[in-house]
């Protein structure tokens, strides 16, 4: 009885969209054990948790945050290329204000509000002016780096504020604070989208914009909200990144993170065309990317081949995700299983 319930639960999971991403993640983690003994081990040192798994979560925290926001935007049928720039601006603002002697909370507050406004700006470009999302956010992607450099004065600002360090590099209750922050962000996002009607309405707008209009959904407000939320997530990620190194680098902070975030969303099973989205999938997708990075370091893969290695893994994951590809492989396997019999009979005929 219990076993039957378990197998049916497992069968349901095997059909769910989370199955392949989770399988890949688990396979990668197990694969690492071959290279690195004790890869999965977690130790307690000085009351803090240490281990490769913790590292993956910690280093992956900014990406998970950015990808969460990206998921919401992609659900509406949009995309946000400007998150990397927002990461840079947010970090630059916070560090600049701290370096000028402003309080920690002022610095963080200004950075967070600024990121929110940058996101809302994207949303307004998309809804009010009807600019295609990829173009609208490209504007801020390019211009935002310039803004970040204006704030830092073209330099890398370094600060020495151990309280600020907590966000991205500190510990709380034995865990890296960044991981706790991400867990809270995930919880809030899930609550915001699934405990209210926001998730359903976003999926409706992204799934069929015209039908949504005819059912009376005011899409513009929802879309601005989605971009603003995405900006907010990127802003917090920016704080994390700058806090971890206690410095703000307008040029390199969050560089290309938008592409990783989009990849994480896609790996997690959310379609770029909008509609149904999966926050859990996105988290798994981001963890796959981070695990891949970690693997490259721990397995000692030569730096010049890392990009190729990444490309191969990502391609495999995407192919596994594609129902069309899986169907093709299955068909071929079935055909191969069937073929031997006729093949031998043919031989007999020719012989």
């Amino acid at each position: 009885m219990n076993r039957a319930a378990l197998t049916s639960r497992l069968a349901a999971f095997a059909r769910s969209s989370l199955f392949w991403p989770v399988t890949v993640l688990v396979a990668m983690l197990l694969g690492n054990v071959i290279f690195t003994h004790g890869f999965l081990a977690i130790h307690v040192r000085q009351g803090h948790l240490y281990g490769s798994l913790i590292d993956i979560l910690l280093f992956g925290a900014p990406l998970i945050l950015v990808a969460l926001g990206m998921t919401i935007v992609i659900a509406t049928g949009g995309i946000d290329l400007s998150v990397g720039a927002t990461v840079a601006i947010s970090g630059a603002l916070a560090c600049y204000l701290i370096s000028k002697g402003h309080g920690l909370f002022v610095a963080i507050g200004v950075a967070v509000v600024a990121s929110l406004l940058l996101g809302a700006w994207n949303g307004l470009l998309v809804t009010r002016l009807g600019i295609q999302p990829i173009i609208a956010t490209l504007i801020l992607m390019v211009a935002g780096r310039g803004v970040a450099q204006l704030i830092t004065g073209g330099q890398i600002i370094t600060i020495n504020d151990q309280d600020y360090k907590l966000i991205g590099g500190g510990y709380w209750l034995g865990l890296p604070f960044a991981i706790i922050l991400v867990a809270i962000a995930l919880g809030v996002t899930v609550a915001l989208t699934r405990r209210t009607a926001l998730g359903m309405l976003l999926e409706s707008v992204g799934g069929n914009a015209e039908a949504s209009r005819l059912v009376g959904i005011r899409a513009a407000g929802l879309i601005v909200l989605a971009y603003a939320f995405c900006g907010l997530c990127a802003g917090i990620a920016g704080l994390m990144i700058s806090s971890n190194t206690l410095s703000a680098d307008g040029n390199h902070a969050g560089l290309w993170i938008e592409l990783d975030a989009i990849l994480a969303v896609v790996l997690g099973g959310t379609a770029l065309t909008g509609g149904r989205f999966s926050l859990a999938g996105t988290v798994v997708g981001a963890l796959i990317i981070q695990t891949l990075d970690t693997t490259i370091y721990t397995a000692g893969i030569p730096p010049r081949t890392t990009l190729v290695f990444e490309a191969v893994v990502v391609t495999i994951v995407c192919l596994l995700q594609s129902p069309a590809f899986r169907a093709k492989v299955m068909r071929r396997r079935r055909r191969r299983a069937k073929e031997p019999a006729p093949a031998t009979s043919k031989q007999e005929v020719t012989a």
Partner: protein
């Protein structure tokens, strides 16, 4: 008459859930313009797609010049001499006229494209059809009508024996249509067989020699145009055999005089529907009758605010109201099930339950979600009441049959408790059982005091449940007929065919 250039026989084509073509025969002779007529879903486009090789027929034969052929694809069809010009011009507006005529088969000389030759030959072709154009000008600088003519020139130069014109006139004005017809007549004299699809009756009678009528995927018949009155043509397209009149008479609904919900005063939109005056009352079913393209859906969309009216105003008894968006219409108690339920109605990604609560949730806003319990109750109630099959609210709506999808749409609006419900072709393409259920539902909703606008291509259905019938034709409201017991499908047909109520 000579031998037919094209002969299709016993053509059948099915899609999951619908038999689009069932044993259809079609002939085309050289030097004739042949109209293919039928309402939405009659199978016109499927037949054309079989002919152009887009679809492969499940059964049946195609013979060209008397030789049996299998058409493998659009390119193969073109090689066999079958060319098509669609409603939307499939050319490149940023290339020159001459380039468009020869694109993909440029004459070459010494391995280079021979531009002089292209321009010379294009000019020659155009001159043959009395078209005076600058062949080196960009195609996009000419009107849509001229672009269409260039598309025809291109098609004809591909040695077309059969030219298919699929609704080429729907976006042309009168003068442009005349020009197109002149070209068609010239091609006809050259022996080209033309298959012409149009929703405008006038044009069919002006330019065509014969007509083939399809209905519900079946062949109704093939007639010389001179032997078929407009009345008969409309009757054959809509399936109103006069023999079936008797059984309808008893079903006439009683007249009601409910409270006035909305009054339309000269509401219209250029290019969609001429200004219309109309009263919509509580408890009254108003049928919109008319052929496809008559403006019946366009009028419905104006009432719902799906399109902006550019003339007139809508009043309630309290005064004028502004309905410029669906949101505004919904807030005033209007609900709308669009004709294209997959494209404009349902969100295919979402579940049955989500689709059902969507309109209500959109009205409440995202911050005030329905409680899980309330939501389950509502969904349960309507899944049961409308007998949605399978009764599983968590199933993706895309997996339901057409009739059940329609019921989901109805449920979506019914839980918002609308005062006016607009149904655009709610019974099209669904099985007879679901159809009757929906008709019964409409009648009982009206009895409960909801005003209903009911649009259908089937006059029998309109007559059965409507209190009054608005007849539309060529984008105009031409008559309002009260369903007082003496109204017959014949009279509606007559009005559609002749354009006024008195004949």
């Amino acid at each position: 008459m000579t031998a037919p250039v094209l002969e299709m026989d016993g053509i059948s084509k099915g899609f999951p859930g619908v038999q689009a073509l069932d044993d259809v025969a079609f002939r085309l002779f050289p030097g004739e313009v042949h109209a293919l007529m039928g309402e939405n879903g009659a199978g016109k486009s499927t037949l054309i797609k079989v002919l152009t090789g887009v679809y492969e027929a499940d059964a049946g034969t195609v013979a060209i010049d008397g030789r049996g052929t299998v058409i493998h694809g659009p390119l193969h069809a073109q090689r066999l001499g079958i060319s098509t010009v669609y409603q939307e011009v499939n050319l490149c507006p940023n290339l020159s006229v001459a380039e468009n005529v020869f694109i993909g088969r440029q004459p070459r000389r010494l391995g280079r494209i021979d531009w002089a030759e292209i321009n010379r030959r294009a000019a020659e072709l155009l001159a043959r059809l009395d078209l005076d154009l600058d062949v080196t000008a960009q195609l996009g600088t000419y009107s849509l009508a001229v672009q269409q003519l260039v598309a025809i020139v291109r098609a004809v130069d591909l040695n077309a024996k059969v030219l298919i014109l699929d609704e080429p006139t729907s976006s042309l004005d009168r003068g442009e249509v005349g020009r197109l017809f002149a070209v068609m007549r010239r091609l006809k004299d050259d022996g080209v067989a033309i298959l012409f699809v149009s929703h405008f009756l006038e044009q069919i009678y002006e330019v065509c020699d014969r007509v083939t009528v399809l209905r519900n995927g079946r062949l109704v018949g093939e007639y010389p145009i001179g032997e078929l009155t407009r009345f008969d043509l409309v009757a054959k397209m809509t399936g109103q055999e006069l023999a079936s009149l008797e059984e309808l008479e008893e079903a006439t609904p009683e007249a009601v005089q409910g409270e006035r919900l909305f009054t339309l005063e000269g509401v219209g939109r250029a290019g969609a529907i001429d200004p219309v005056d109309l009263d919509l009352r509580a408890g009254e079913v108003v049928g919109f009758a008319g052929l496809l393209g008559s403006g019946r859906s366009e009028l419905a969309r104006l009432i719902f605010g799906a399109d902006h009216a550019d003339s007139g105003r809508i009043r309630t008894d309290e005064g004028p109201v502004s309905i410029r968006t669906p949101r505004a219409a919904i807030d005033r108690g209007v609900a709308f099930c669009p004709e294209d339920r997959k494209g404009d109605g349902l969100i295919m990604d979402l579940t049955v339950a989500e689709n059902i609560v969507l309109a209500l949730q959109a009205a409440r806003g995202w911050l005030r979600p329905l409680s899980q319990r309330r939501r389950d109750e509502l969904v349960d109630e309507y899944v049961k009441a409308l007998r949605i099959q399978p009764p599983n609210p968590d199933m993706p709506v895309r997996n339901l049959s057409g009739g059940n999808q329609q019921k989901v749409l109805l449920a979506r609006w019914l839980i918002t408790r609308p005062r006016l419900l607009i149904l655009d072709e709610p019974t099209r393409g669904i099985d007879i059982g679901a159809k009757t259920e929906i008709q019964k539902l409409v009648v009982s909703l009206a009895a409960d005091g909801i005003g209903v606008v009911f649009i259908s291509a089937e006059l029998e259905e309109v007559l059965r449940i409507s209190h009054k019938v608005e007849v539309l034709r060529d984008r105009r409201l031409v008559a309002e007929l009260r369903n007082d017991g003496s109204l017959t499908p014949e009279r509606i047909l007559q009005t559609i065919a002749n354009g006024d109520a008195d004949t």
